[in-house]
Symmetry: C2
């Protein structure tokens, strides 16, 4: 039991199966799908206290608490979701789904394609954030939630929150758009592309049919994670975490992991390659690349934001260079231009893009105030 950190404690995932077809943005129909999710706290009688939490690229539905059989590692936002925490489980009913296309239980590339009876693998349709929003709307319907008190997320999850306020304006009261950008830059896409190339050029990838061949493109996944990880940390946080510290006292003049940052990255890559699905990773990076709400409005973000009714909080972190504060401000400025209810807070933090995962004091206060206002 891990209740001493005021965690929500032991949690269990739920699952729901939707039988109807979902029309995707690519034009394809998904013939029914399963969605895995967790909930924390209690839904009140008028169902007005529901908060949707959206995960990022490699996240999943396990956002808070612990699983009974693996008491060690809590959910990815455990430090922010719990009794009296930033997202207070004593006040709110928090819903945290695994995104469509994921690899942790929700229908995705690892699932069986009902049309063929075989694993989807590389044939799983390429998705968009809007597809996720639509699938999550079905989950809201299923749970009887007409309107979210808030939709909130960091990074890709922040884009998801923004998209909710665009796609279902009257179903979102507040949207928390954290460490996000209105669309990826060419550099962001470039990093994603190198990660994809690492995976697809791994001989074990087998054009995406690795499961059928009993193989796992671990080398590619490992590299993809290492590349991603560099962009999650700031140069400053790397400096304070590792500096140029050597594992041994002196230079080895060889190619084993020598600086501490090297063994850290290798370890991150190893763990990830054991647990994440390669086709899902490809899919998630593509969802990121495709996100661009202004695309259908001639790049006019102000016009794109017209439908929004929600009160929006845009949060950025000073040392985030993946989606820097200036990228977040593009969102804020367009919201101001569109005369929307928006506030923007930039949090001082040395932790880079990953800052959104950590309970920095001001960050926690701002989230609490926003949700409670």
């Amino acid at each position: 039991m891990k209740n001493n950190d005021s965690s929500i404690g032991i949690v269990k995932p739920n699952s729901v199966k939707f039988e109807n077809s979902l029309l995707l943005e690519c034009g394809k129909q998904l013939k029914g799908f399963e969605m895995v999710y967790e909930t924390y706290g209690e839904l009140n009688t008028d169902k007005s206290n529901a908060v949707l939490v959206c995960h990022a690229l490699s996240g999943n539905h396990h956002a808070a608490g612990y699983y009974e059989d693996s008491g060690e590692k809590p959910g990815w936002w455990n430090s922010l979701i719990g009794p009296n925490k930033a997202i207070n489980t004593n006040k709110y009913f928090i819903v945290s789904p695994n995104n469509l296309g994921g690899c942790h239980g929700t229908t995705g590339p690892k699932s069986i394609n009902p049309k063929t009876g075989r694993i989807y693998g590389p044939h799983f349709p390429v998705l968009t954030v809007r597809d996720w929003t639509n699938s999550q709307a079905l989950l809201a319907d299923y749970l009887g939630i007409t309107t979210w008190h808030a939709v909130i997320g960091g990074s890709l999850g922040g884009m998801q929150a923004l998209d909710w306020s665009l796609a279902y304006p009257d179903r979102v009261k507040k949207a928390g758009v954290i460490a996000a950008a209105p669309k990826l830059s060419a550099q962001n896409i470039a990093f994603n592309e190198v990660a994809r190339q690492a995976i697809t050029s791994d001989p074990d990838f087998q054009e995406g049919n690795y499961m059928e061949h009993g193989r796992v493109p671990k080398r590619g996944l490992r590299l993809a994670r290492m590349i991603g990880h560099i962009t999650y940390l700031s140069d400053e946080s790397m400096k304070s975490k590792f500096g140029r510290e050597l594992k041994e006292d002196k230079l080895s003049f060889g190619f084993n992991a020598e600086f501490q940052v090297e063994s850290y990255l290798r370890h991150q890559g190893d763990v990830f390659s054991e647990t994440f699905d390669a086709n899902t990773y490809l899919l998630m990076t593509k969802v990121l690349d495709y996100f661009d709400p202004a695309d259908k409005f001639d790049d006019n973000l102000v016009e794109a934001f017209n439908p929004i009714l929600a009160q929006i909080l845009v949060l950025s972190f000073s040392t985030d260079w993946r989606f820097s504060p200036s990228r977040s401000r593009e969102i804020t400025n367009a919201l101001i231009g569109a005369k929307k209810k928006v506030s923007h807070i930039e949090i001082e933090s040395s932790l880079g893009h990953d800052s959104f995962l950590f309970p920095e004091e001001r960050y926690v206060e701002v989230l609490k105030a926003f949700l409670g206002s």
Copy 2:
């Protein structure tokens, strides 16, 4: 003939073989080695006009002019080296060697180890910038050059120029330290490490013995180059070069190269993987990681710079995020602290780290003035 761009025209590489052993920083002896180099312009009678040009990570001795049999692509600094150019071949005798450990003719991992009669491959010793400086000093001796009018280079080449002023203070009148840092940050090392992992985890790498097995770790080299390339460009230059432009008019919902930046990176990776040696790439990144003149002085860079006699120009570029202006200023500030002759110019340029390769007007003027002063 390509003389219309005031190029130096057709050039030919030279080669020299040193028979004596070279003691390396790792403690090993290199039993003789060959060094390939090019020269442009004429050495004057008192041998006082020699300029040593130092190449970066993936560069080589072909810095200016054209080869007769491949008239298309000039040397990597052709826009800066030539008649009346920034590094004026009418005034200076320019020497441009391929670094030890390289893969373009100078002894390196592709060479035969005289001790074993077999290709060095992964057994080529891990080098340092100081080893290069020492080997280039032998080249200077051979050419009869007691004192360089200037030693100059960008990126790793800039570190090389700095090291010359430290190792042989009385043999360097001026050092041009361009787009460099006093040592790599943890983030810099991290990028190098991912590139190395891409190469060493390629099944064709064969623990470095790929040549003996008739294989080439092209996938790994390709990824390494793509990763490197992202760090050479600024977010701004990527934006102006590619933006989020699609190759076709609309999203493909597939995994072929879709955004222009993707096909650009793939192309860069492909070309590089055809021409560069994997063991050399590993070696060069390690040389970069190891560079740290303050290491033996308890991280006191001011003290480390004490021996310097040369006049030093430190040049940085506004959008360089690989070795940002603030990293270059660390060099300058320590030189000021050590009461050395130093000037620092920050050039406004949108081209990121690669700026040092392009003849931006102010950059050219500053270089001319520095060399001619």
